[in-house]
């Protein structure tokens, strides 16, 4: 009877598994799957903001007596360490939660830095044209032809691994994507009548760029930045995994995956969970970026 009432209530509220499925797959002709990446990204940002408060244990404190505790659902595991512990007895869950902040701030700063450099140079190249354009675009071609990971590794090896160094390296390598996109858009926007009319009105070139050209670029930039966030997190993790990223004991996800590399056969959980976290966030950022692109700027498909 009790259950019947509940069923009835569910039916009346319009909730059903079938409906949920329909909602996630297709809603008014558009894929509704986008809810999932948004939830993941929302969770990521939330954890990035409050992670250290949510973590049940310290992320850096070591205790060798409890090393390689398996996750809670394993026969030997306990709910004290839900995702187990690593080779120094640190709680994996706590480290993932705290590590989210590292990834989030790093991704935002790197994308911001690359975005600012790239947008400025792209605007200048597209607007002024001639030899300025030629110089900037050859620079872009040069940067684009570099193998990102390899160059980042080389530079970090020279200057030493640190959060700031890695940030500068990635910012200085990834601006080229923005410059190329922004230049192309600027070239087409500057031929519009409203730009000619702004010149006729007596506006200076910086004013035309800031007030007339830049506002029309914003949504392409938002799309590109979203897609780049996934890429930056992946790069940061890869570099950290290789030992030239964010140095320990900061709980970066890439470092955590690397920590479990040699013990995969006996303590798979040390690498798996941070790896899943990276995968989920990168996938969510890419899906969300694709969706945003289709909504705002379908022209960008080649990026």
């Amino acid at each position: 009877m009790k259950y019947k009432g509940l069923k009835e209530a569910v039916r009346h509220s319009g909730l059903s598994l079938r409906r949920l499925g329909q909602f996630l797959i297709r809603r008014k002709g558009r894929p509704g799957y986008i809810v999932i990446p948004i939830v993941i990204l929302g969770l990521f940002v939330f954890v990035g903001a409050f992670g250290p408060l949510l973590a049940p244990h310290s992320a850096t404190e070591t205790n060798l007596s409890i090393r390689y505790q398996p996750p809670a659902w394993d026969a030997d595991g306990s709910w004290k360490y839900p995702l187990g512990t690593d080779h120094l007895g640190r709680d994996i869950l706590s480290r993932i939660l705290v590590g989210a902040r590292v990834s989030l701030t790093f991704a935002l700063l790197a994308v911001g830095l690359a975005g600012i450099i790239g947008t400025l140079l792209g605007l200048i190249a597209g607007y002024y044209g001639s030899w300025i354009d030629a110089i900037i675009m050859r620079l872009v071609d040069g940067v684009m032809s570099l193998p990102l990971i390899l160059v980042a590794m080389a530079i970090v090896v020279v200057f030493g691994p640190s959060f700031v160094n890695l940030l500068i390296v990635l910012g200085c390598l990834m601006w080229a994507f923005y410059a190329r996109l922004v230049r192309g858009d600027t070239l087409s926007i500057k031929e519009k009548d409203f730009v000619a009319l702004a010149k006729i009105a007596g506006c200076s070139s910086p004013r035309i760029i800031a007030h007339h050209i830049f506002p029309s670029l914003v949504h392409s930039l938002v799309v590109l930045a979203t897609l780049q966030i996934g890429l930056v997190i992946l790069m940061e993790s890869a570099l950290s995994f290789l030992g030239v990223g964010i140095p320990p004991p900061t709980p970066a996800w890439g470092v955590m995956v690397a920590d479990g590399r040699s013990v995969l056969d006996i303590a798979w959980w040390v690498s798996l969970f941070p790896g899943l976290a990276i995968g989920a966030v990168v996938l969510a950022a890419n899906l969300f970026g694709d969706w945003l692109r289709d909504k705002l700027d379908p022209r960008l498909r080649q990026v």
Binding site: F194, I200, A201, C203, H211, P215
Partner: protein, 319 residues
């Protein structure tokens, strides 16, 4: 009548560049090739011609969007390509423009208020408070409601947008308005409304117009003087009524004939064939390849613009 703007032997050639690494100039497109005309204060000069004849290049030269290859433009007696910075600023505020496409001439992400106020802001002509008053004043002049100020361009129809563009152009109280096909993108009825508005404003504010259009009816309705362009040159220039009653150049006759359409089509007057490439215009009179009255001399010697009757100039060997 006071002369406001005058051009002298105005020329604009665009290079045709071929080749990638070692580019070479393979020729010149003579978009504007020696054009002289005069704008009198408070009057409209109408420039007609088929597309590609150089009308828009003339507009760009007058608006300083392009530099002339040679020749000069005098505004109140001063050569605008040789004046100092502060005079240039003054020129920028006294010459404004309205373009053809009202959908691309308004910045899509600016409110109407900022769009109209922008020429004032850029030239620092008025203090903040008076700026606001001026914006409201020009909005009234173009017969738009006050609540338009807080909205965005996409909320308006083509005719309304064209009036917003006009309000912006009027905000600095210019003496010359350059109208590049101002009504050809609009519906006929809306276009007529805008034309009448332009005529009223000319009377109220004593404006001078340089009107560029391909539509002869528009030109006739608005202009005091008319110039006909063909392949970068003026082929005929006359006061409005004189031009419509006695067109002299065969090209003008063909244009008027094509526009009238009402009566029977007179075979000889029909304009046939394509406009020749401006990269390689025909020798002699540029029009001789399409002219119904072509004589031998036409393909050999280029006719010069000469005065036939009072104020009526034509470049044709046969007139």
């Amino acid at each position: 009548m006071n002369i406001l703007l005058q051009t002298q032997e105005l020329k604009k050639y665009f290079p045709v560049v071929r080749g990638f690494l070692f580019s070479q100039t393979r020729g010149w497109i003579k978009a504007v090739d020696g054009v002289d005309f005069t704008l009198y204060e408070g009057q409209t000069f109408g420039l007609v011609g088929e597309s590609g004849c150089g009308k828009t290049t003339v507009v760009k030269l007058v608006l300083l969007l392009e530099k002339p290859t040679s020749g000069s433009i005098f505004f109140r007696g001063r050569d605008i390509n040789r004046i100092k910075r502060d005079m240039l600023k003054q020129y920028r505020t006294s010459v404004q423009a309205v373009f053809q496409d009202p959908y691309s001439s308004l910045s899509p992400r600016m409110r109407v208020e900022s769009i109209i106020a922008e020429p004032l802001k850029a030239s620092k002509l008025l203090p903040e408070k008076q700026r606001r008053e001026r914006v409201e004043a020009v909005l009234r002049e173009v017969r738009l409601d006050h609540d338009a100020l807080r909205r965005y361009p996409h909320e308006f129809s083509g005719g309304q947008r064209q009036r917003i563009a006009l309000a912006r152009a009027l905000s600095t109280r210019p003496s010359l308005l350059v109208l590049d096909e101002p009504v050809s993108a609009l519906d006929v009825s809306v276009g007529a409304e805008v034309m009448n508005l332009l005529k009223d404003l000319q009377e109220e504010l004593g404006l001078t117009y340089l009107l560029v259009a391909h539509n002869l009816a528009t030109i006739r309705h608005m202009s005091h003087h008319i110039g006909v362009m063909y392949l970068g040159k003026l082929v005929e220039m006359a006061p409005c009524e004189e031009f419509y009653s006695h067109p002299l150049h065969p090209y003008s006759q063909g244009l008027l004939h094509a526009a009238s359409r009402g009566g029977a089509v007179t075979e000889g007057l029909m304009l046939t064939g394509e406009v020749p490439s401006p990269l390689n215009p025909p020798a002699g009179c540029h029009f001789h390849t399409r002219c119904f009255a072509m004589k031998r001399v036409c393909s050999e010697i280029e006719p010069l613009l000469k005065e036939v009757t009072g104020g009526h100039l034509v470049a044709c060997h046969l007139c």
